[in-house]
């Protein structure tokens, strides 16, 4: 039976989307519904898992299998799902609070294990659902509901954390850059292993404009640098600046006076994560922030290795016999 190719509409549910008008989440949902039908995966083989938060409403709006679980635990739930059925395409929708605050541990463990799931972290630098407390990505000094005198916690750098935890695919995109976002999600989908995608997302109610200084159409080319495999690192509206290594420090140089050969060349497949870490550590303000794919390396997946181990044991010993198992070892007969 040949079924007609899936379309975006196939992934829409009858649920009313209940985000605030103007919320960046709509754009992300749109990208997800655009990418899913492109992947050649039957609709019933997708599972969207989430924790709790505005972002975590995602499963309700994507017409496939979904699990809106409890706060922070989506990666753990997804681990069970993938072990039970490695053939499923499992996606996690989560927030900066859900995944980096209460769920931080499950996140880093799923990353080190290289569980084959795609995690989209809607980073709005705030707890949206609970109405505006600071999150682990909020800036120092920020006044929020719970910090009337300003945040004193240093935020995480999510990309650096993911690299430190050993994630095999790490990327960043922006809610309003829909073409870029769709490309990044496709890349994530095609990666076999844990894909961590940070998405700058505007919460227009509790943290409006958090990323404007980076992503506003007018200025973004000066503040974001698109990472492209095999190419030297260049940015600027006029593509007039590049990044060069000075000792062990990154330096912005004018292309006018710098030959391409002196620029850092992007290599997303480097087995070491030192280079992407180096770029992720470039300070906001003085240096552009990377978008695109920071890292994409092949490593055996957790669920794959587990399945392989099962297959090996099965091959070696055959399907276990319950009779043998119970009756093995030191038994004796009475009567």
């Amino acid at each position: 039976m040949i079924s007609p190719p899936l379309t975006k509409n196939d992934f829409k549910t009858d649920q009313e989307v209940r985000w605030c008008p103007g919320c960046g989440d709509y754009a992300i949902l749109n990208a997800v519904q655009t990418v899913f039908p492109m992947l050649g995966i039957p609709k019933e083989k997708f599972v969207v898992v989430s924790g709790i938060g505005c972002s975590s409403r995602l499963p309700y709006y994507v017409n496939t299998y979904g699990f809106h679980s409890i706060h922070g635990r989506a990666p753990a739930i997804a681990t069970g799902i993938k072990i039970a059925n490695p053939e499923l395409s499992v996606w996690i929708g989560t927030g900066d609070g859900d995944s980096l605050s209460i769920g931080g541990n499950h996140l880093i463990h799923a990353m080190r294990r290289n569980l084959d799931v795609k995690l989209l972290m809607f980073n709005n630098r705030i707890y949206g659902l609970t109405k505006g407390q600071f999150s682990p990505t909020s800036e120092v000094g920020k006044v929020t509901k719970s910090t009337p005198y300003g945040v004193v916690d240093q935020p995480f750098n999510p990309i650096a954390l993911a690299l430190g935890a050993g994630a095999t695919f790490v990327a960043r995109s922006v809610d309003i850059m829909s073409k870029h976002l769709i490309e990044v999600l496709q890349r994530a989908a095609n990666h076999k292993g844990f894909a961590f995608v940070e998405i700058y997302q505007n919460c227009n109610i509790f943290n409006d404009g958090a990323f404007d200084h980076l992503v506003d159409a007018g200025i973004r080319d000066e503040h974001l640098i698109a990472l492209e495999h095999g190419k030297p690192l260049k940015f600027g509206k006029a593509k007039d600046k590049g990044i060069k290594l000075n000792g062990f420090k990154p330096e912005v140089v004018p292309l006018a006076s710098t030959p391409d050969s002196e620029l850092l060349v992007w290599d997303e497949h480097d087995p070491s994560s030192a280079l992407p870490f180096f770029v992720s550590a470039m300070p906001e303000g003085t240096m552009p922030q990377g978008i695109g794919v920071f890292r994409d390396v092949d490593r055996p997946t957790f669920d794959g290795e587990m399945a392989a181990q099962h297959a090996n044991v099965m091959k070696k010993y055959g399907a276990g016999s319950l009779e043998k198992l119970l009756y093995e070892g030191d038994t004796w007969k009475v009567g």
Binding site: Y65, P75, A76
Partner: protein, 647 residues
């Protein structure tokens, strides 16, 4: 080795022996070998290992003492015995720790080689002035029948020919002791010889031979040195016909996990984070990969249960296991399983608490946590195993309930069951209970919260099934369609529906185990691992012609529907528990009945004796009376009195 002895061989009905030594002395191995051999000769038996607490104490110290008690008999027995008939003390610390449990006149075999100043000091056999006390030389053991043996020397001599280092030779001393015990109780050496040959294979065969030689040395020494006045014989017990093996509770659970996967045809997923005394389940089943058993050692207990919930969602039988502190961490996720109505078994191998507590000791104090310890109304059935072998049946029952009613189920075991052992008559594979699981595949009329009107279970539709795409989660649902719903009346009816579903199990569960008259002056109501002690005490009472009855719950929540009527037929209810009256509270809350609580929280099972005395006493108490586990009123009254008289 055949037993051509000239000694008097006396036939006795039962013996309780305790082997005690340093953690490094191999007491658990020795105990297991003795157990196995006794099982093979057909005795009924029960064992009680006593591990040192979680830490590894320095050799020779009191906290480092490891013990193993075995009771074996030619009759049907239910407990490892109240106090030992014979104690083997491998070092001074072992003597000191175990002596309080020995009644006068009993036998103590002492490894004299270790009763030297250095070792005595480690065991705190020291006077206030710093001088050493040697119990072999003072009169402190005069009430016992002491048999001094230099096990070290025997081990060194007996293994001379194998070219071991002295340290290696000395490691064989437990087998010298084992050989002596084998002679004393007329047991064959062959099973242990076979085991040693299997255990030390290949280039380790020398160790097998050395240990075998050590064992024979002990055996021969016992015979020739005329250490014992008599030699004993414990005839085979009259157990029901069948094939038997010895089984520990955790082993039985592990086997049941494999069985559940096999019987149902649906793989079992076990998500767990190691914790004493539950870890051995994980260890054992991680070998069962070819039985359809998947194990995931998670980063913590929350991930463990959440992964199991995820696996259930995806169509495996999700199981998670831990002990008290770990179960406390799972509370929120257990609520999610209630709300999403997914099958899940939560194994709680209870240990001494609260908090880290006494990790290697047993307790029954997680009952109320299992039944009620979650936010809001999050009911789930609870089953409790009552003996090591019963862990097998009970676990399968938990899986049956979980999958039939689409609900999480708590399976309670405890440290005593987990590590204790008993002979298990192996079930006929064909006669194991059926676990029928039907995944929904039919699209027509599909709704994620569609229910079976009989069980109230919702459908189980796993991801990957075309046409059944749906979303579940922790927010309140409209029944049927399963969409998010915040209506007041819907919530009220869903809360009740989830409870009613659980109460249905009351009519479809294991009946309480009854013994004794159908009505009478006293009912002993128990649950869990106290079955052995209670049964023994009740049998003792019957021997004393007391017309009392026993009711033991296998299904602890909801109560089997017969329980209310049972309770009403007796004048007095006595509830012994290894906690401060948790079942007592639960029974009173459900039936508003009077009941006497017998609470003991000492990290070890009741003795038959103390239970029997309690039964005797309770018969003297008013009919339809109660006692509070803490008797606080009495206490308060006496404090007031003290104030008055003192002031």
């Amino acid at each position: 080795m055949t037993n051509e002895t000239t000694h008097k061989v006396r036939s006795i009905e039962q013996v309780v022996i305790r082997l005690a030594g340093d953690s490094g002395d191999g007491m658990q191995i020795t105990g297991n070998e003795f157990t196995k051999t006794s099982a093979i000769v057909g005795n009924d038996l029960a064992t009680l290992p006593d591990f040192p607490a979680e830490i590894r104490a320095p050799a020779g110290t009191l906290p480092g003492v490891s013990g193993f008690q075995i009771r074996f008999a030619s009759k049907d027995i239910h407990t490892p015995g109240d106090d030992p008939d014979i104690l083997v003390a491998m070092n001074p610390a072992a003597l000191k720790v175990n002596l309080p449990d020995m009644r006068p006149g009993k036998t103590i075999i002492i490894n004299t080689a270790m009763f030297v100043e250095k070792e005595l000091r480690k065991a705190l056999y020291v006077k206030d002035d710093g001088t050493i006390i040697n119990p072999l030389n003072d009169h402190s053991l005069s009430n016992y029948h002491v048999i001094p043996v230099d096990l070290n020397k025997l081990a060194l001599e007996g293994t001379k020919e194998f070219g071991l280092s002295p340290k290696e030779s000395l490691r064989c001393k437990n087998f010298v002791a084992l050989g002596m015990m084998y002679w004393l109780y007329s047991r064959p050496l062959e099973p242990t010889i076979a085991w040693l040959r299997d255990y030390f294979k290949g280039d380790k065969v020398n160790f097998a031979n050395a240990n075998i030689a050590a064992m024979k040395t002990g055996y021969n020494y016992a015979e020739t040195a005329e250490l014992f006045v008599e030699q004993y014989k414990i005839p085979a017990a009259h157990l029901p016909a069948g094939t038997y093996r010895n089984v520990m509770g955790n082993q039985a659970v592990a086997l049941a996990i494999a069985a559940a996967a096999k019987i149902s045809g649906v793989p079992v997923f076990y998500g767990s984070y190691p914790i004493t005394p539950a870890s051995d389940i994980l260890h054992q089943i991680s070998k069962y990969k070819n039985y359809g058993v998947y194990t995931f050692q998670a980063e913590d207990e929350i991930a463990a249960i959440c992964s199991a919930i995820g696996a259930s969602f995806a169509g495996m039988i999700g199981v998670t296991g831990s002990s008290g502190p770990g179960i406390a961490l799972k509370g929120e996720a257990m609520g999610l399983a209630v709300m999403t109505e997914l099958p899940l078994v939560i194994i709680d191998v209870q240990r001494g608490g609260p908090s880290t507590g006494l990790p290697t000791k047993t307790e029954q104090a997680d009952l109320l946590q299992a039944v009620l310890g979650r936010n809001s109304e999050a009911p789930m059935p609870v089953v409790a195993a009552s003996s090591p072998a019963d862990c097998f049946d009970r676990f399968l029952e938990a899986v049956r309930i979980a999958t039939k009613y689409m609900t999480p189920v708590v399976f309670l075991s405890d440290g005593y069951l987990a590590n204790g052992s008993e002979p298990w008559r192996l079930p006929d594979i064909d006669k194991l209970p059926k676990i029928d699981i039907n995944f929904r595949t039919e699209r027509d009329g599909f709704q994620p919260y569609l229910r079976d009107p009989g069980t109230l279970a919702r459908v189980w539709a796993k991801p990957g099934t075309p046409g059944l795409e749906h979303r579940i989660g922790g927010i309140e649902k409209r029944d049927g369609v399963g969409s998010i719903n915040y209506d007041a009346e819907n919530h009220d009816s869903m809360v009740r529906l989830r409870w009613r579903k659980i109460y249905k199990v009351a009519d479809d569960c294991a009946a309480p185990l009854m013994a004794g008259p159908e009505r009478g002056p006293l009912l002993v109501l128990g649950w869990g691992s106290t079955l052995g002690s209670i049964t023994s005490a009740v049998e003792m009472a019957h021997a004393h012609k007391m017309p009392i009855a026993r009711c033991h719950l296998q299904q602890v929540w909801p109560f089997p529907s017969s329980l209310g009527a049972i309770l009403s037929r007796y004048d007095r209810i006595l509830i012994p528990e290894m906690n401060l009256g948790q079942m007592w509270r639960l029974v009173r809350s459900e039936y508003a009945v009077q009941a006497y609580s017998f609470a003991k929280v000492q990290g070890r099972p009741f003795t038959t004796g103390e239970l029997f005395r309690k039964i005797q006493q309770t018969l003297e108490l008013p009919a339809h009376g109660s006692s509070h586990p803490l008797d606080t009123k009495l206490e308060r009254a006496s404090e007031v009195a003290a104030d008055v008289s003192g002031g």
